[in-house]
Assembly symmetry: C2
Homo-oligomer: 487 residues x 2
Amino acid sequence: MTAVPSSLLRDLSALLGPKGLISDADRAPYERGYRYGAGRAAALIRPADVDQLRSVIRYCHAQDIRFFAQGANTGLVGASTPDDSEEQILISLGHMTAIETLDPLDRSMTVQAGARLSAINAAAAPHDLFFPIDLGADPSIGGMVATNTGGSRMMRYGDVRRNLLGLEVVLPDQDATLLSNLTGLRKDNSGLDWKHLFVGTSGAFGLVTRARIELHAVPRRTAAALVVPQTQAAVPHIIGLLENALGDSLTACEGMSRRAMQAAFDHNPALRRPFGGDIPDYAILVELGTSLSDRIMPDLDGILVDILGSACEGPAALVQDVLFGRAADFWAIRHSISDGVAAMGQVIAFDISVQRSALPAFRAAAIDLIEREFPQLILCDFGHCGDGGDHFNLVWPNDIGPAREDRAPMIARLRTALYDLITTEFHGSFSAEHGLGPYNQGFYDRLKSAPERQLTAAIKDRMDPKNLVGNIRFERGSLSPAPPPTA
Amino acid sequence: MTAVPSSLLRDLSALLGPKGLISDADRAPYERGYRYGAGRAAALIRPADVDQLRSVIRYCHAQDIRFFAQGANTGLVGASTPDDSEEQILISLGHMTAIETLDPLDRSMTVQAGARLSAINAAAAPHDLFFPIDLGADPSIGGMVATNTGGSRMMRYGDVRRNLLGLEVVLPDQDATLLSNLTGLRKDNSGLDWKHLFVGTSGAFGLVTRARIELHAVPRRTAAALVVPQTQAAVPHIIGLLENALGDSLTACEGMSRRAMQAAFDHNPALRRPFGGDIPDYAILVELGTSLSDRIMPDLDGILVDILGSACEGPAALVQDVLFGRAADFWAIRHSISDGVAAMGQVIAFDISVQRSALPAFRAAAIDLIEREFPQLILCDFGHCGDGGDHFNLVWPNDIGPAREDRAPMIARLRTALYDLITTEFHGSFSAEHGLGPYNQGFYDRLKSAPERQLTAAIKDRMDPKNLVGNIRFERGSLSPAPPPTA
């Protein structure tokens, strides 16, 4: 590859003007990831608009300079921060954040890629609408497209893909080709719906510059309960029961293991403690929500009491106990888990999914594996059991075993063993909703089937013939620009 | 290209056994399309399984023989029938129709590509589940994937894409590569979700052999009304009002123009006639449906009466009149339109969509165009106004103007004028839910943007390097096998 030219900053400044460059003093928050990834970029820029962005990409292509886009830098797989080479240009979308159109009648909105989830929802709120991806973080829409974020209410509203009506993308080719379809049609089968190529592919096929998204009615009322299952095996049956009874009013089923809840209570003393005595082994936060008036769907609380009450009865009861309360109180527990677990020691995080009906069997097998081979670890898993997702997080207490810097080989062995169990035995995913990045590159290379990897690599070659964009590899070669494709 | 070898039938018989060939006497229903397309194949085969299918594709690749898959042959764009060359192999999926798995707890089903919608729903019914694509025809799931069918309840349940959890596909390459992901995970962002390449691309990228699909709860109760809007401009506002009030219980909004309803009544005397006097200019079939018990959502009829009653009141009333009745009676009118219109003369059909909020303006502009330039035509449009779709069908009465065989130039001019209006002025689609085929190839070539066509052609080259599969062209060259890609 060509070395980064000495004229780089001068050239970029000529393309973007002085406002387009991020100064060295401001580098830090751009170059370190939220959880993984830290490096150093050759330059950090912030284009004002798509034209400026395209001019930079044409320049990068001509000069063989690598680059990638960064939105809010809230990703969890290391894909939005530079590597250590000092050869990449970090393109912040921090100046491309406008909410461009909002059509309440069409329930859609067109936004620039740097617009954050919070800004989108603030603009939609006066119309009683929202973008239904429910997350702890506040990502940009471009990043949400690149990871196909799911979140806590995915079982009700779907992921980003499902709520994406259109996309505008700049390809990393010679012309910085602009692909655009922002018409927002609900129904259009006049050719390849190419936007799906850019969903969940980590920005490696092109840079999202605009998105048209679908909005939903804000639920006006909620009811919630913490459900303690009789056994772990009862969990999918409880979810099925709720789904059958509540239909689309069932907005969340979030599983929480005992140690995850304990970590939340220990860390956040302000939490209400719903359990009188011991914390149960597992509880499901069940939320019923609706935008319907109480003329149409009266008495949400009574509905939950009826359904869950009957599930407690009889010798084959699925449910051991139910605690009713305010949704906000239960969500506060759920949202305190991450920080609580982090306070316990070193977190070894897994963002996995299996079929919903296989979650109990997976948990049993994984717990068995941990107890047998990694008894020093504490399981604090939690997650979206309604859609088969589990943040299967383990904590290595600070005071047990070797120091952090000496744990790497055992953690690598743990990751390999667990991902093998998930993908081989349970046909699950090693990245349910965090997407692909340097963090899980090795698992992609090892666990995806060869035909799938080869197809992906071929499309990458077409989109990015010089292999300049992004932080993951879709081919067997190195991360540096590949030679021209030979086949 | 190589001519079809004289040993073709012998070779195919060796690969498939005698049961794998369809005899000459049985050709007719395979070689003529439901609405468009009729030709003659070099051979008609019916593989028993994926292995046989792959052996045929390897043979075709080695011999440069063109081929395509046919499911139920109910498509409306000529993509499932052979051309006139006698050079294509027609691969019927009529022996690959099994329902392989059904998991009621996971609400999913794995089926072979030839399984028909009716068979899928028959298997799901004992579990109170169904596949929510509501159509007049009875297509195979492979064909539904290839066209990304929508149907009458798309505004509630989404299209095939939204309800597709996994796919198995045979690529038309040297190895007949099998791409497969039937794990059915709701949440998996561990790489390119390649199944979307095969949705809505007319089988031109590969042959779907299995699909895993999502099932939904059957609505237990419905309520329905025919809503007569004050003006055409009120239609999207009425839909918005219903959507806000009814949420996901709003299962359909089907628009019907006066002449479309008249055609249904004239053709089918058994229909109940809800209108006392004149048929109104336009009516919307509104359906409320729910799988919820009446404990949770009581009094569906009362809900509709309340909402629509209040929309009739005041000087700014959106609604002129509402007729309440049985959903089945109203659907009978809707489903009699196609045959009724066909009985009026020559139907010139348009399967278009625009943004829902733009439908009134589009209809006004299109009606103006017809009255000005094609006054002999009668507009009988109907369709899914809840998602912006409209079957903008025109009838040329048999007794007006030149004979059918002499009308082609004027029909071509009409198509060009209308599609230009739809795509240029209203940013709409020239194929909303019928997909791509020889019938609309010319409009694809002319109306899709160059970057979109070029990207599609590049992916086609990768999937099908000899350009052997399917009945549409994704490149500028001819339908015959292209030379090896040069760039």
